[in-house]
Symmetry: C2
Subunit: 583 residues, 2 copies
């Protein structure tokens, strides 16, 4: 048996892991309240696996026979489970379709390569026999990067990288590690930790994403304020393309023309397969303690975060929730957690009466301080001083610890609500400081308006989780009841309202989730038409036969911009909504 | 009259600025000693301007007439002085040729555009009438980026950007500034300073280089340890190409596919003309003080620099000289400078007898601390502790101040020695910490060997000026007497030994000087053959008719790798050397 862990075909995370709602007595009532479920819950469980019908396989015998000559059958598979698992990532759109048994396109085969040599041979064969390849890490992408939507009649093969999962070597003196692309977050960190190091990259998808996937999508992790985004960590990499293998040199910085690392970073599988990279790593910090703070409102929280950046003293993690996200966080607390008692009567009374907190406006900020003893204490002292000035109340370490325990749980909660006819998704961007609050308000207004066209009540919150000298990211979460029969059309309406607000507001289509297929409608506005020509030039030069993950990032000419949804269905929904139909 | 300052046609800096050797009584004797001039100095002054013969102009009447319709004659010039000034950058090879009246290729005209709109129109006309364009900032490039070596019979036009020199706006809250590409360092800083900001980018060429040039060549400045390399500072930019204008969005970070900013950064004029950029800027620090330290040897200095990086407390500037560079620095001190007395008899005796310093091995480290009061003092205290552990002797602020005063003077010294039959040049790279000393020794050995094939004695020193979490740059300076009649062949031999050592030693062809024409022989080893295909793909997609600065970065097929030197001449020199002829 192949020793790889795959996520559930219908949802997030390992087969046996479920969201534990039982120990969070306030959460489901809170969600029901914010999305306006008054009566019975409508259950919408996933389709039965055996009832899913896959499209018939396109089989390229020459390719198959060639691959069989050097890949054993255990690593070259086409059973239904493998095909289903590799059909999609984990965007709401992906999950809704698979949960409803809709698979219009699917890889015909899955290969688990063991080495770069094998990958080169596979790509050569794919080129010779005109087969499409889609690199696959852990399948957690939420921008449609994995969608097998355009083989153009060709056989489609998913290249699952998870067997290439080793930290090959660590150069302790140089703070660098050479890591294979298929290493999942936890396994990679475990290997690095054994050397005394960390990559310092902890995206929300950490447990089910790979370093190759992070590089291919320009990922950002929770500790980016200190350690940077993934693109800041790459010293060198290797990427096999249909036109040869790109190999760059392991140096901290260079002036060797256009930066070839940056041609591979963010290429989302469209140019080739990243097989390994030498990454900047960090010695594990001596001290590391999370803290929680309550700010009177979002604006004071933003002011505090901004002043930390201005004073060059940003903690390793800063996560500021807006009021609605704060309320969700508090509802999230478990029965056994001391957080429950934290805002007990005495504290609440103190905050309300003495500090004049309006709890409808209060915002939770989670932070982590780390470093050696001196840096740790210095940072904590400086930051506390700044926070205090903005009226923050220090909640101590418990909220931070609770957050650290549950920080990877959110996607499981999405599955839970999707079982109950609720859509939930995220859209995120970044902008400069002077535009942060204006963009926050305009995006909230835009999503709220779109959502309220379809439902009476919905959840809409935001947090800031990555800060820079010049600006920060804004990460919006929304959720609402679904209109039966028009779930995807309804979702497109809401998702579009977020992305439109970003682009209209001068921001970018995504800060760290990639373009893929789902963000493609906004790429021209983001990188300009000539930028698209440049990216297309790269594509043609390295993959002239378009066998690598076709139709991602840059729009194929004449393609629909509605993610394949039928214009008539979208119009029907709009007519319904215009006629006053809402949930 | 056009209000632009150009450098001397035959050397560095403004027409009226000369290197002041008179107030540095120890310098010329020191140089004569290290390059082994025992007898009379051989004077080699530049050619007379009036004797320089330019290649005849290639005139494309349709283009000329079209340009004349919207650019006034004052900004569209073809007099001899303009053509000579725009023929070359300031590499040793450039200067040697122009000083000897050798101009095999020259722009036929020079245009000084005033706006992006004009540039678009010029590029369109160049495309329509098949004219070559070479963007020109201040002309300080030393990698042959400006060489007009391949018009292929077409008219060649230099686009001098210096009239587009404004800081258009500063977003004080966001720490960003929108700056036109042609702004020279000092003028740009002056404008930013008036808002209370600095870019924090001070390359050795600062006085005669532009922000467009920095971006196009991936420049690094003296304060990069805090402020980063130029590519770290770009939020967005605009670049006019023959296939349209690339426009990116002003956001701190994005995940919008392949990073289009990085397609423009480092493109060295081969894809288009960068017209402006929004840059990350910083509020001027409250405190800023330079210090000097003397370390017992290079290794202890490296250890100290490394430990600062490891402890996340690198000063804004760290410049560690090796012993030979240290000796040159001390010889550099002026009559009036208190540095002179610094290592007076008492201190020398103390260092030698009590601290057991061997002055032949001692190394000067120059550093700058800055920040608000608290950050400034913290940093100084932490760094001093680390330096002390490595046996450093604190020389106080004077050497630092002396360095700051003279930090842009080195290229003037090169002109001085070139007047005296001495070649002087630099080659720099970067590598990871574990390879830093091995690469230092192997490169010193390689340059020394090559140089000693041609001269009995020469100068060879190195300094470290840019440090990173994973490594640092190594900047080598060499100088020696020239073999009359074979100066360029001799230079190629020595320069090649440096670059060969970098590539053989796992490093990069340049850390911040670009590829241009002179580093092209090493680009394939640096970015791999497939990397070259990618860059070529970009070139063809944005500039299909190859009108933008042709034959830079990536080798044109079938081109000589000897910078246009004749193989026979190189062989003749080798034969001479093999027969024992040395200076």
């Amino acid at each position: 048996m192949l020793n790889v862990e795959q996520m559930k075909w219908w949802g997030w995370g390992g087969e046996n892991i479920e969201f534990n709602m039982d120990d969070k007595p306030e959460l489901w009532p809170h969600i029901k309240d914010v999305v306006g479920i008054e009566d019975e819950v409508k259950f919408t469980p996933p389709f039965k696996f055996e009832n899913i019908e896959l499209p018939s396989q396109t089989l390229n015998d020459k390719f198959i026979n060639h691959v069989k000559s050097f890949i054993d059958p255990e690593r070259f598979k086409s059973d239904k489970r493998e095909r289903v698992i590799h059909s999609y990532g984990k965007s709401f759109r992906d999950l809704w379709r698979i949960r409803n048994g809709i698979v219009n396109a699917s890889p015909d085969y899955v290969i688990y390569p063991l080495s770069e040599q094998e990958i080169s041979t596979i790509i050569k064969a794919a080129l010779d026999y005109d087969v499409v390849l889609i690199p696959f890490g852990a399948g957690s992408n939420i921008a449609g990067c994995l969608e097998a939507n355009n083989g153009s009649g060709r056989m489609i093969v998913s290249l699952d990288m998870k067997l290439m999962d080793k930290v090959i070597s660590v150069d302790k003196q140089s703070n660098t590690a050479r890591i294979q692309a298929g290493a999942l977050g936890p396994l990679m960190e475990k290997q690095l930790n054994s050397y005394g190091f960390t990559l310092g990259h902890f995206p929300d998808s950490f447990e089910y994403s790979t370093i190759g996937g992070w590089i291919a999508t320009r990922s950002a992790g929770m500790q980016s304020d200190k350690y940077g985004k993934i693109e800041d960590m790459v010293l060198s990499l290797r990427m096999v393309t249909p036109n040869g293998t790109i190999v760059t040199r392991t140096v901290p910085k260079s002036s060797n023309g256009i930066d070839v690392n940056h041609i591979c970073i963010g290429s989302e599988g469209t140019l080739g397969v990243i097989t390994e990279a030498v990454m900047r790593v960090h010695k594990l910090p001596q001290y590391r303690v999370p803290y929680g703070y309550l700010f009177p409102d979002f604006e004071s929280g933003v002011n505090a975060v901004y002043e930390c950046v201005e004073k060059y003293c940003a903690p390793v993690v800063t996560r500021l929730n807006d009021p609605d996200k704060t309320a969700l966080s508090f509802a999230y607390r478990s029965k056994s957690s001391p957080v429950k008692s934290l805002l007990g009567k005495v504290v609440k009374s103190y905050l309300k009466n003495i500090k004049k907190f309006d709890f409808d406006k209060a915002c939770l900020l989670l932070t982590v301080f780390e470093g050696d003893k001196e840096n740790f204490s210095d940072m904590k002292r400086k930051v506390n001083k700044i926070y205090k000035k903005q009226g923050a109340f220090n909640l101590g370490t418990e909220p931070g610890k609770a957050f650290e325990r549950g920080k990877y749980d959110f996607p499981y909660l999405r599955d839970y609500v999707m079982d109950r006819n609720i859509m939930a998704d995220v859209s995120e961007t970044s902008t400069v400081w002077s535009n942060l609050l204006p963009l926050y308000y305009s995006t909230i207004a835009s999503i709220d308006k779109a959502m309220k066209q379809t439902v009476k009540k919905g959840f809409l919150g935001c947090h800031i989780s990555h800060t820079y000298h010049t600006g920060a990211s804004l990460y919006f979460t929304f959720g609402c009841q679904q209109i039966p029969g028009y779930e995807l059309e309804q979702y497109l309406l809401i998702k579009k309202s977020a992305e439109d607000a970003f682009i209209k507001g001068g921001a970018t289509l995504s800060h760290h989730h990639a373009v893929g297929f789902e963000h493609m409608p906004w790429i021209k506005d983001d990188i300009s038409e000539t930028g698209i020509k440049a990216v297309r030039g790269l594509k043609y030069s390295l993959d002239p036969k378009n066998i690598m993950n076709p139709d991602k990032i840059i729009p194929p000419i004449e393609k629909s911009f509605n993610w394949g949804l039928q214009k008539e269905d979208i119009e029907k929904l709009k007519a319904l909504l215009a006629a006053g139909r809402r949930i």
